[in-house]
């Protein structure tokens, strides 16, 4: 698209005067000329603002730090700010963030004033030193950039030219043990293109400037490839994108996963096999190793996954369904902390849908120690479990392991859901009161007489419906709570159910939960 002569003149006029301003060579007359034009002509004003936005952006993306800027932003920050939980006492001789801190570690919490002052100073130093105005000082971090990038997924020449450009911030480290001193990154440090992130214990939260939040779990080895793309050799990453982060991509040894909006999780084994699960929105997956995809071009095999679907891609580029994904192995970016740290009760869930529909990619999400008010009920809906009144849900259910099934499983005629129970437990099924009780439930479970409510979000029958927060609000359906004692580890088989007579207002799949004895 070419500019009109008038636009081109305006562009040149603004460009020249801004250049003189930035160089410090503008005369008083030129300053006045620019001021008059900006204040009197809306077109010049718009051009001026765009020009300044572009200059700022280009500078932050491309300009390297001043040579001789020797001090490390992270070490300065480290002197005043705790970087989170201390490493485990049995930490191996690998290096932690804290170990890199040159000054004695001063934990927060001596007094509130002390904490506030410390944070304020830390923030001041952080901002004064780690986020200088135009300087992208990623090259100061060269000592934290490993010399050897992943053997596959090498950055292109163009990406290499942007090497060191800062594109993300490490906002949180929890119990992290880095693989080596050269790979250690301090909390609240900026992270640049080409940088390797490698740690074998703990978890980090990395926020990209594009608005993508990522949660990365050890053991992990990843390389930042550009402002919206990482290469992960192995590890687990969950990414949540705002509208601006759409297009965020994770490359793995066997696939490339591109976010088309909201949240997905990915787990790459050390052999490279890749699992992808979509928690919200949708993703595109290109199957096959990066080199193979380059040669295949348009014949690259692709898969499109939507919310509630998951797949596993192997080395030959074949994919198959993943039946269940739990929140310990692949947590959501903003998941609430578990309500306790007992061993899991629900180990796995499978069904017989793939026998009839091998193309199915639906997965069951297992949430350990997670059942509470407003817990999401199904992987493919925003419906929530809630107590029927302000007293909340039955106390014995709080903190239970539970399963988020596919709500559309309700349509499956001969469904068999197999739930692996890992230890003695009480297993619960939440079954809608508007649906006829099936034989498998009546014969294998006991109705406790307790109820739980379902607060429905938007669905095909009620597209404008919204969920409310807390118990006793916006309850749309009541479910009876059935229970069964399980004395030893075993697999329970649950079945299907008939569509209710009054189904025009919609009906729902059952819920599953378990509490250890």
């Amino acid at each position: 698209m070419t500019m009109s002569p008038e636009e081109a003149d305006r562009f040149a006029f603004v460009h020249e005067l801004i250049t003189r301003q930035l160089e410090g060579t503008a005369t008083e007359q030129e300053q006045q000329q620019l001021q008059d034009a900006v204040t009197s002509d809306p077109n010049v004003r718009r051009e001026y603002i765009r020009h300044m936005q572009e200059v700022t952006h280009i500078t932050s993306r491309l300009v390297a730090p001043r040579p001789g800027q020797e001090f490390s932003k992270s070490s300065v920050l480290g002197q005043t700010c705790s970087t989170g939980p201390l490493p485990p006492s049995d930490a191996e001789p690998a290096i932690t963030s804290d170990a890199l801190t040159p000054a004695p570690h001063r934990p927060l919490g001596v007094s509130f004033l002390g904490v506030a002052a410390s944070l304020a100073i830390a923030a001041t130093l952080l901002l004064a030193v780690s986020i200088p105005f135009w300087m992208s000082d990623g090259r100061n971090d060269q000592n934290t950039i490993a010399s050897k990038p992943p053997s596959t997924g090498q950055p292109s020449d163009k990406t290499a030219a942007l090497h060191g450009t800062e594109v993300a911030t490490l906002v949180e480290c929890t119990n992290v043990v880095w693989d080596s001193r050269s790979n250690a990154v301090n909390e609240l440090s900026r992270v640049g293109i080409g940088q390797n992130i490698s740690f074998h214990r703990g978890r980090i939260k990395l926020v990209f400037d594009s608005g993508v939040e990522t949660l990365v779990l050890a053991p992990c080895y990843l390389n930042i490839q550009d402002h919206n793309r990482v290469y992960c050799t192995y590890g687990r990453i969950t990414a949540k994108a705002s509208a601006g982060g759409k297009g965020f991509a994770i490359e793995t040894p066997v696939a490339r996963v591109t976010d088309l909006g909201t949240e997905f999780g990915i787990a790459i084994s050390e052999s490279g096999e890749t699992e992808v699960a979509v928690f919200e929105g949708e993703v595109d997956i290109e199957l096959g190793a990066p080199d193979a995809r380059k040669t295949q071009n348009s014949q690259t095999k692709r898969e499109h996954l939507v919310q509630g679907q998951a797949t596993r891609v192997d080395h030959s580029g074949r994919s198959k369904r993943v039946f269940s994904i739990d929140n310990q192995r692949m947590p959501g970016v903003r998941d609430l902390a578990p309500m306790h740290h007992d061993e899991p009760v629900i180990a796995a869930v499978r069904d017989n849908i793939s026998e009839r529909h091998p193309e199915s990619r639906m997965f069951y999400r297992i949430v350990h120690a997670g059942l509470r008010e407003d817990s999401r009920a199904f992987v493919d809906r925003t419906h929530q479990w809630n107590g029927l009144d302000e007293d909340g849900m039955p106390r014995e259910l709080l903190g239970a392991d539970y399963v988020m099934p596919f709500n559309d499983d309700k349509f499956a005629g001969d469904l068999k859901v197999r739930v692996a129970i890992a230890r003695p437990a009480t297993v619960y099924v939440f079954f809608s009161n508007n649906t006829k009780v099936p034989d498998w439930l009546a014969s294998g479970f006991i109705d406790t007489g307790l109820d739980i409510g379902l607060d429905e979000g938007a669905n095909r029958y009620k597209p404008s419906k919204r969920v409310a927060a807390g118990p006793g609000k916006s309850i749309d359906n009541t479910f009876s709570i059935w229970e069964r004692d399980v004395q030893s580890p075993q697999e329970l088989e649950l079945g299907s159910f008939e569509r209710p007579v009054e189904f025009k207002r919609g009906y729902n799949m059952y819920g599953i939960a378990a509490v250890a004895k």
Binding site: T56, H57, L62, A64, A161, D209, E213
Partner: protein, 177 residues
């Protein structure tokens, strides 16, 4: 909200929106050193006032308002012999604050990122040297083994090319389903 959590939220928001604030400051005070000084003051002020920021509201808009007051404070202190824009210029840009935070502005900058990636290594090298604070254009010309005039012309041509690229990408995005 815990202090740790507040700290994390602040770092995340700053990381996401700092360029919008910085471009506003630079538009008002188009000299690297001065703009840098104002940004440092602004970022400290943002942290100190962070408890007044309502979660979920527009952080960039709030931060730009804070930056505006830091600009006014800086102007009072600025040496008289410095060239500074007049009050009507500052007021004029104040009325355009939304342009710095709009979705359209964000879309333009995302497009600019893509355009930079598709630029040649030489073009990026030249821009990085040209916009490096304190670097004289004569030094850029020597480093790039060309003349001062050629540097000016090349930078203008590259910037113009980037602008066209941005418009093309935005138009393409609009036409795409």
């Amino acid at each position: 909200m815990s202090l740790d959590s507040e700290h994390s939220d602040f770092a995340r928001l700053i990381a996401q929106h700092q360029r919008a604030v910085q471009s506003y400051i630079l538009a008002n005070v188009p000299r690297w050193g001065d703009a840098d000084e104002i940004w440092q003051e602004t970022s400290v002020r943002l942290w100190l006032e962070f408890d007044k920021f309502r979660p979920g509201s527009n952080f960039a808009a709030w931060a730009i308002r804070v930056a505006h007051f830091e600009i006014l404070t800086w102007r009072k202190k600025a040496e008289r012999n410095r060239l500074v824009f007049g009050d009507d210029f500052i007021a004029c840009l104040e009325s355009e604050q939304k342009q710095f935070t709009s979705d359209q502005a964000q879309a333009r900058l995302r497009a600019l990122d893509q355009c930079l990636e598709s630029s040649s290594d030489y073009q990026r090298e030249l821009l990085s040297r040209f916009y490096e604070p304190d670097r004289q254009v004569q030094q850029v010309a020597e480093a790039m083994k060309t003349s001062v005039d050629a540097v000016y012309k090349s930078v203008q041509r590259i910037r113009k090319g980037l602008r066209s690229c941005i418009e093309q990408r935005l138009q393409h995005a609009e036409l795409s389903p």
